[in-house]
């Protein structure tokens, strides 16, 4: 099987799963004990429309297609999804696709940054603990691997806030040790409270109001939502209009980065733990292979054998975990987001459940599934490219 055939096959395999996910989200929305029509018309439900002679409730139900049979509703749902109409959020009074569009990059940025932090930690510790197998360091790092997975993520987040943040009578080791004011890292929000970040949600970038284009014309209007990337492309015009303290691309980037560190570290620690174990196991397996023995027999130095010959091969199976850890990080984001006040998909999902906003819940479930499947697809393809044996299956 050649590469393109392999890729096409992988993509085709996704289609039934995607259909299954839509069936699933639809079923969940059917079970949720809320009538979206009643929520939308609110107090005016009982009013009678003079033209048609129907109540507002009936009109809303008709508009949303709720009076149709279930199968017909599902058909409509699929058609609307394909056309980009993900329904109307009853909580935010905005189209669900907009809500999800704003929330997804927040979570994704946090999750990707978390993995960026977790991978070096996990892989380094894993390699060291395989090299020093059954020595003290190995035992400590194996314990750490299990401990990292066992920590409740919401608790860890708050403890990190306590230790690295400020504004408390207790904890806060940064101020006394490093002489900082306001702790090492900010503990709430995506940006400093004094900063209006030029993105889709701020009125700064609404050209109709301010007449300023925040981003160059070739860039997506309002930015991609990934602030670590966006901050480098904000135009000078827009920079002039925000708080002078942050009026440079670097300052914006720095602000985003500093706010991301604690949430991402919290999120990444569990992935780092499992990575450590996998890396250790994978490297130990590779060390017994013939080619490692050959490399040693050639008289290469031990470090060269490990880094060049063993690690390169041990890293290949680690790739598969990448896809899963993105899913895990997005799931964990539900908890970290509420603590660090990030308005990503986790917070949106929790709000949706509390307010029984079924269309947002469907949207979030669907978009997480899409992200997860896509990342797994990319990982699969990469794996196929790196290790041609996989394609033979």
């Amino acid at each position: 099987m050649n590469t393109s055939e392999f890729i096409v096959r992988r993509i085709l395999l996704l289609i039934p799963v995607m259909i299954g996910v839509t069936v699933f989200t639809f079923a969940i929305a059917q079970i949720i004990p809320a009538d979206p029509a009643a929520i939308l018309c609110g107090e005016r439900c009982g009013l009678v429309d003079p033209v048609t002679g129907k109540t507002m409730l009936e009109l809303q139900r008709e508009r949303l297609g709720l009076d149709e049979p279930v199968i017909e509703q599902f058909r409509l749902y699929l058609i609307n999804l394909a056309e980009g109409d993900w329904g109307e959020s009853t909580t935010y009074n905005r189209p669900t696709s907009d809500v999800v569009r704003d929330a997804a990059p927040v979570t994704l940025e946090m999750a990707l940054f978390a993995l960026l932090m977790a991978y070096p930690i996990g892989i380094t510790l894993g390699i060291l603990s395989a090299v020093w197998q059954d020595q003290v360091f190995d035992h400590i790092s194996r314990f750490l691997a299990i401990a990292f997975v066992s920590l409740p993520i919401f608790w860890l987040a708050m403890m990190l806030q306590l230790v690295f943040g400020t504004g408390t009578d207790v904890g806060g080791i940064c101020d006394p040790i490093f002489g900082t004011e306001g702790g090492c890292f900010p503990i709430y929000g995506r940006h400093d409270a004094a900063l209006t970040y030029p993105d889709r949600s701020s009125s700064l970038c609404d050209t109709a109001i301010t007449g300023i284009a925040c981003y160059p014309s070739w860039y997506p209007s309002g930015g991609t939502g990934f602030h670590l990337v966006d901050s480098w492309f904000v135009t000078d015009e827009a920079l002039d209009n925000i708080n002078p303290e942050y009026a440079s691309n670097y300052k914006l980037f720095d602000d985003t980065l500093v706010h991301l560190i604690l949430p991402s570290f919290t999120l990444g620690i569990a992935s780092a733990g499992s990575l450590l174990r996998y890396m250790r196991a994978s490297l130990l397996e590779v060390m017994n292979e013939d080619y490692v023995r050959t490399a040693r027999a050639k008289g290469l130095s031990e470090s060269r054998v490990i880094i060049v010959h063993a690690c390169r091969n041990a890293l290949v199976p680690i790739l598969t975990i990448l896809g899963f850890s993105i899913g895990g990080a997005i799931g964990g984001a539900v908890l970290t987001e509420s603590i660090f006040a990030f308005y990503g998909m986790g917070n949106v999902a929790v709000d949706a459940i509390i307010n029984l906003d079924y269309s947002v819940l469907m949207g979030v479930t669907l978009i997480t599934a899409i992200i997860f499947l896509m990342s797994n697809l990319i990982v699969d393809i990469l794996y196929g490219v790196v290790d041609p044996r996989v394609r033979l299956e």
């Binding site: 059917q30 279930v70 066992s150 029984l356």
Partner: protein, 577 residues
């Protein structure tokens, strides 16, 4: 045949039992030898044992504190006195803030009041208050917390539990309520395990004045229950589905694996969130009678078939093919009956929404279909000739396989018991009587957890299926069910045990996470995740409200994870001789 004739068979079956017991003993010894090699694993075992002991003896270990109502068996703490927080090791546990209504005293023409504990509930649901013995009178305040002179109130010198209120206070009509702050003698707090004279709350108290240490002790019960229930249910469901998928392979396998793919496509926590939301309106979990009997009965049929079939007529594999058109007619009419004229209107009686009814009917169809798929191979060979004699034979003591049928008897008795002890005989079987929020997160976690086990077991079954002994069993004509239960599963349990242990820890984490979001335990409940989320309101200042419950979660999860890791070494084939 007479009793004497069976001596040899009885001896044979006893010998088998003894042999397997000896084997089990040997396996355990060997496993322990490997297990204790790892210090971490031993520590993990100790952690798990300690937390289990704590949860069992929570009643005895918990400090009796005015804020905790020991009479209330549901472990609910009530709030009817002045809330206050105390830091860990602060000397505040024996301090009582008693509100006294002067208006009431004036009405009764009284000149003093007893030092009373908060209202408690007795066994017969009546309310009562304890009279406390005051050791030190601290302060007198008005209702706004303004300090009044301590000499306005005097403590009775003879019994130390009566406050005389001075004329000056009683005559000041602008005062309606006063607050007495005093320390009292609290012998109940001095437990054998506390050092002498140790009367501080070691984990502090929360804003309702409840001793955090006691709450955490009781929280261990909730967490362990959730962990075990969810892990057990997921193992059972996952094993059944996974072994079906692995053993039958082909299209069945394909369908089941695509379903697990869907579950894997959505992150577990978000899936659980969505499912909890869907369960919100349901407040008791009942099944119609016929349905409750359907499940154990179908299991019984399948089980009886494979066992009896194999033990009474070994080697007899050539049965007449069942009538194919007849089968199609049966299936089609069943589906039509269920879909059109079926009792879907009150199916489950769970929620009054059309969507739920349709979902429920889909589940019903899936279950029936699953049974059909499962039993298809068996049905191909079904023959009703001689069922009666075979049943009698299987109950015969002389039958060397009769200890297998003992288990079928247990299943049958269990299904009867389920009916007898559940509910009002109103055509319904209550499965979960009090379907509260904790149950909902448990169901949601089971719902999201089974695909992992299904894949694990499927892989194991695929691996074991190819081994020689399975082929041997198949070649002598053993039926599918018997091969699965007697040959494949016993050889695939090892990774299952490890996953089960690890899953208990994982479940405790997820459940506390859901509680933290506000979907799990009821407000005020002694659940660790809920305690953390309650403490969040006072977070940076009163850090102990978050620190200790979280440590409890981490401790328990770590214990189970270390235990699972140790077990992994034990069952690792590399460690077998």
């Amino acid at each position: 045949m007479s009793w004497e004739d069976g001596v040899e068979e009885r001896g044979e079956s006893l010998r088998r039992i003894r042999e397997s017991a000896a084997q089990a003993r040997y396996d355990f010894k060997r496993g322990w030898k490997i297990y204790r090699r790892s210090l971490l694993a031993v520590i993990g075992l100790l952690m798990v044992i300690s937390i289990s002991v704590v949860s069992i003896f929570a009643d005895d270990l918990a400090v009796e504190h005015p804020g905790r109502n020991l009479q209330d068996t549901r472990d609910v703490w009530h709030i009817d006195y002045e809330p206050r927080k105390a830091a860990p090791f602060s000397d505040e546990c024996d301090t009582r803030y008693q509100k006294v209504s002067l208006t009431t005293l004036r009405r009764w023409d009284a000149n003093g009041t007893n030092a009373l504990s908060p209202t408690r509930v007795a066994d017969n649901n009546s309310f009562y208050e304890d009279i406390l013995v005051v050791t030190e009178f601290i302060e007198l305040q008005d209702r706004y917390g303004v300090t009044l002179g301590n000499d306005l109130v005097t403590l009775e010198t003879s019994n130390k539990s009566y406050f005389w209120i001075s004329e000056e206070l009683m005559e000041n009509n602008s005062l309606t309520q006063i607050k007495l702050i005093y320390k009292f003698e609290n012998d109940a707090m001095h437990h054998w395990w506390l050092p002498d004279g140790y009367d501080v709350c070691i984990f502090g108290t929360n804003d309702e004045g409840q001793d955090l240490f006691s709450k955490i002790l009781y929280g261990s019960r909730v967490s362990l229950t959730i962990g075990f229930t969810v892990a057990t249910l997921t193992v059972i469901i996952g094993t059944i589905i996974g072994s079906i998928s692995g053993y039958f392979g082909g299209r069945t396998d394909e369908v089941i694996m695509r379903i697990t793919d869907i579950f894997f496509a959505v992150p577990g926590l978000i899936l659980a969130l969505a499912f909890v939301a869907a369960l919100q309106a349901i407040d008791n979990f009942t099944l119609p009678l016929w349905f409750a009997f359907l499940l154990p009965l179908s299991g019984l049929c399948i089980y009886f078939r494979s066992t009896i079939f194999d033990s009474i007529m070994p080697g007899e594999t050539s049965f007449p093919e069942a009538n194919l058109p007849l089968r199609i007619i049966v299936v089609v009419s069943l589906v039509v009956l269920l879909a059109l004229g079926g009792p879907w209107k009150d199916f489950f009686e769970l929620a009054d929404s059309s969507g739920w009814r349709i979902f429920a009917s889909l589940i019903g169809l899936m279950i029936v279909g699953g049974i059909f798929i499962l039993d298809r191979r068996l049905m191909d060979n079904i023959s009703l000739d001689g069922v009666g004699s075979r049943t009698l034979n299987s109950l015969d003591w002389r039958n060397p396989y009769r200890y297998l049928t003992f288990r079928t008897l247990v299943i049958f008795i269990a299904s009867i018991a389920l009916f007898t002890w559940s509910g009002d005989g109103d055509n319904e079987v209550t499965v979960i009587d009090n379907f509260d929020r904790l149950w909902k997160i448990q169901i949601a976690l089971v719902f999201t957890g089974w695909p992992g086990y299904a894949r694990l077991i499927r892989g194991q079954v695929l691996y074991v299926k190819e081994m020689t002994f399975v082929e041997a069993a198949r070649s002598v004509g053993a039926p599918s069910g018997r091969i699965m239960f007697r040959h494949i599963l016993p050889n695939a349990w090892a990774p299952l045990l490890v996953a089960f242990t690890l899953d208990i820890g994982g479940t405790i984490l997820s459940a506390s996470g859901l509680s933290f979001i506000g979907l799990g335990a009821e407000p005020g409940a002694a659940e660790w995740g809920k305690l953390v989320s309650d403490g969040r309101a006072h977070f940076p200042q009163d850090y102990w409200l978050v620190l200790f419950p979280g440590l409890a979660i981490a401790y328990t999860t770590l214990g189970f994870n270390l235990l699972g890791d140790g077990l992994r070494d034990v069952v690792d084939p590399k460690n077998r001789r």
